[in-house]
């Protein structure tokens, strides 16, 4: 109970503080914070908006899991951004080249995406263990190389291959229907009214849920997950405990990249191709969601939903003119910064409390006198 209280205190506190700060920011520039928040909440109460939120939360959550796998062993994969965009492009191209029975076609595209993401992330892992290159710097550089180099190059090349090339067919060739995961409106509509405005709930939501469950199982039940956490908790003790540090770095990087490869599939399924201007920034946002959700499979669900809600709210603010829509980015940034600070503080208090409680419990049971 007490533990739960501690776990909740930080995010709730961070959220309240964020509301206060962003209210001040809104008020300073002459907007009414309450009408802005009212518009956001009213909008989010609609079923169609909720579909939008889930569609946005899905890639954010997968991205967060990708980042969290690295964070769990103090490995900072800042390169999720480049990994998912690169994987997205290759998977879209491969998917457009074949026609297969639906299940196989979908699995092929997923496999390609996962392998490309894993391989690209693996480069940073290999550089770290063989050459001692810090993964933060190498993944940042690999991001730039993927986005301004490889993707630009390949996109150009594959675009030129298209028959009947016009400005509206920019991007890779369309993927045949058989390669796309159908929307899951039907499942939701069992419980709700029909979804309107032509909104479609992405089938990737199911994949994201499976990714979350797999991540949870990995951490709590699997030996590899134990090794991963041990390497993060104390790399020296882990090594002495038989966990090969170098192999763990590469494995964690590859696994993180594999998850990252799935991020772009949400957009792939929606647009049936790699469009020339894919949604960017999901990799960095995923890092934020992972940090906000404390790398915890459940916590990241809430964090992803919060970030998605804020992203989706930007639209309504623009419509109602209640406030500048960029306020939602500010709120995301502030909630993140305040939350990481709050987590640090509560963690410290918690560990102090634990030491105290342990010593007291011992004294109570044994009448022992304990000194430092």
């Amino acid at each position: 109970m007490r533990k739960l209280l501690f776990a909740l205190a930080a995010p709730v506190g961070a959220f309240v503080l964020t509301i206060i700060i962003s209210s001040i920011a809104l008020w300073m520039f002459g907007s009414n914070p309450f009408s802005a928040y009212g518009d956001m909440l009213g909008h989010a109460a609609k079923l169609e908006t909720q579909v939008d939120i889930l569609n946005r939360a899905t890639p954010l959550y997968i991205s967060a899991v990708a980042a969290a796998i690295g964070f769990r062993m103090n490995l900072f994969n800042i390169g999720v951004e480049g990994q998912y965009l690169f994987a997205f492009l290759i998977a879209a191209q491969v998917g457009s080249l074949v026609v297969l029975p639906q299940v196989f076609h979908i699995l092929l595209i997923m496999t390609v995406a996962v392998l490309v993401g894993a391989a690209y992330a693996g480069i940073a892992g290999v550089l770290k263990v063989t050459r001692g290159v810090n993964e933060v710097i190498s993944t940042i550089m690999l991001n730039a190389i993927a986005i301004t180099g490889l993707i630009a190059l390949l996109q150009q090349r594959w675009q030129a291959d298209q028959e009947n090339f016009t400005s509206t067919t920019l991007g890779t060739n369309p993927i045949p229907e058989s390669g796309l995961i159908p929307n899951i409106n039907g499942i939701v509509e069992i419980f709700t009214r029909d979804i309107g405005q032509g909104k479609q709930l992405t089938g990737m939501l199911i994949v994201a849920i499976l990714v979350g469950l797999a991540y949870h199982f990995l951490l709590t039940r699997m030996r590899f997950g134990f090794d991963l956490r041990a390497s993060g908790a104390n790399p020296f003790a882990a090594r002495a405990g038989g966990i090969p540090p170098k192999r763990m770095v590469v494995a964690a990087m590859v696994l993180s990249g594999a998850a990252a490869g799935l991020i772009g599939l949400v957009e792939l399924n929606e647009k049936a191709k790699f469009s020339p201007n894919p949604i960017k920034g999901l990799g960095f946002a995923g890092i934020a969601v992972a940090l906000l959700g404390r790398n915890n499979p459940g916590g990241m669900v809430f964090a992803a939903l919060l970030f998605a809600f804020l992203d989706v709210s930007a639209g309504i603010l623009q419509n109602t003119q209640a406030a500048t829509k960029e306020i939602v980015n500010i709120m995301q940034g502030i909630v993140l910064l305040v939350a990481v600070i709050a987590y640090g503080v509560t963690a410290r208090i918690q560990s102090r409390e634990e030491a105290k409680a342990t010593a007291e419990a011992l004294r109570a049971t044994e009448g022992m006198e304990v000194a430092t």
Binding site: I137, A144, I145, I287, L291
Partner: protein, 414 residues
């Protein structure tokens, strides 16, 4: 001359010799490849313009990391500097604009210090948070102030200078000779190339560029000769030892990180007031991160950071004027020679893996150079980043970072 003797020569003599050797290499390659852009005035001018923000961010990183705080938030602080610099310059003129830019970056630094020093948040995590927060703030402010989240009106910048005598600058009404121009025009092999490159560094000189170059000796002096520097260094090497001697480690860590933000902010203000002439979202182009790479390349020393920044700036600057890809193509030959040298150097040290890797890369670059007349645009786009990676691949293990870098510090050891 033995390696040891060579290393005993002071750095300020050694580095210019390296630079001359580098220019000699460029000249020779130019002769072979029939391009002239590698040593033109415009190239070195672009190099400097690119290098200045990278250097300022890297030097900022030096202050922070010498105090033991990893700063990947430099990018965010640079972005804050970009916005505040633009805003200040539009409203209060160029000089105040620079100051406000410094202030904007310093606020980012302050946030990072509060999170990492006071609350012991992991340095990378706090940096990531600042990198996410900073663009959000600037988008919001831009939209509120200028009605567009990504663009500002035109900014203003202090006038540029030509240095007297070397670059034909005017002193008190006297138009001094332009020595380097004359030497360049003589078209002597090598010598004119050196003059051309140098001339880019002394003409059309922005105040901030000049300041940046002067910051190298100043920072060295500050770090190695002053009380502030010694205490800053102990904060990054062994803070408990400093604390035991009665030093307020928290103060020096804060100082280091805030100065770090201020310098990155100045770099950002330079981008929005001089390089782009306006604030534009995304114009930071990762220079904060590249500055961090320059810091690592420079082994946490001011001169080294400058060399790293100039190197990266050269590749960026060359790319900018290289629309047909011929100069970048010629650069492949430079790559071949340098990688070959690395291979030989590694071979003398009995480092087999390095030798093989460098040799393979050298041969690859050479084959590419032979088989094409120009390289495609995407290659020149990624060249700087590839360069950073290569530098780290071959030299990461030779570097020595501050010993307590990235470690949490709590007063009294509890």
């Amino acid at each position: 001359m033995s390696m040891e003797k060579w290393n005993n020569i002071p750095a300020w003599i050694r580095w210019p010799i390296y630079a001359l050797l580098g220019i000699l290499l460029l000249t020779i390659v130019q002769g072979v490849s029939d391009v002239d852009r590698l040593t033109k005035v415009s190239t070195s001018r672009e190099m400097l313009r690119w290098a200045v923000p990278i250097f300022l961010a890297g030097l900022g990183g030096l202050f922070s990391e010498r105090a033991g705080v990893v700063n990947i938030g430099l990018e965010g602080m640079l972005i804050l500097g970009m916005w505040f610099g633009a805003w200040g310059s539009i409203n209060y003129g160029p000089w105040i604009g620079l100051l406000i830019g410094i202030g904007g970056g310093a606020i980012g630094g302050l946030l990072h210090a509060v999170a990492t020093v006071t609350f012991n948040v992991d340095h990378i995590i706090s940096g990531v948070a600042i990198n996410i927060l900073a663009p959000a703030i600037t988008r919001y402010l831009s939209d509120e102030v200028w009605g567009s989240p990504t663009t500002s009106p035109a900014t203003s910048t202090p006038d540029v200078y030509d240095l007297p005598i070397l670059g034909g600058g005017t002193v008190a009404g006297w138009e001094s000779p332009d020595l380097l121009l004359e030497v360049t025009n003589l078209e002597l092999p090598f010598i004119s190339d050196v003059a051309g490159l140098l001339r880019g560094l002394v003409t059309n000189l922005h105040f901030v560029s000049l300041l940046a170059i002067l910051l190298v000796p100043f920072t060295s002096w500050l770090i190695w000769r002053t009380r502030f520097g010694l205490r800053l260094r102990i904060s990054g090497e062994n803070p408990s030892a400093g604390e035991a001697q009665g030093i307020n480690i928290i103060f020096y860590k804060y100082a280091g990180v805030i100065i770090s933000g201020g310098l990155a902010g100045l770099g950002g203000a330079f981008i929005s007031t001089e390089l782009s002439g306006l604030f534009q979202g995304g114009n930071s182009a990762g220079r904060g991160f590249i500055g961090l790479a320059a810091l690592i390349f420079g082994n946490w020393r001011p001169g080294g950071v400058l060399v790293g920044a100039l190197l990266f700036g050269y590749v960026f600057g060359l790319d900018l004027k290289d629309l047909d890809g011929t100069a970048s193509h010629a650069l492949l030959l430079v790559n071949t020679v340098v990688l070959g040298a690395v291979a030989i150097w590694a071979a003398t040290k009995n480092r087999v893996a390095d030798t093989v890797l460098a040799a393979i890369l050298a041969v690859g670059a050479f084959v590419w150079w032979l088989s094409a007349d120009a390289v495609p645009g995407w290659w020149s786009n990624i060249l700087p980043y590839v360069l950073v990676l290569l530098v780290l691949v071959f030299f990461a293990q030779r570097l020595r970072m501050p010993k307590a870098l990235g470690q949490p510090y709590a007063k009294g050891g509890r």
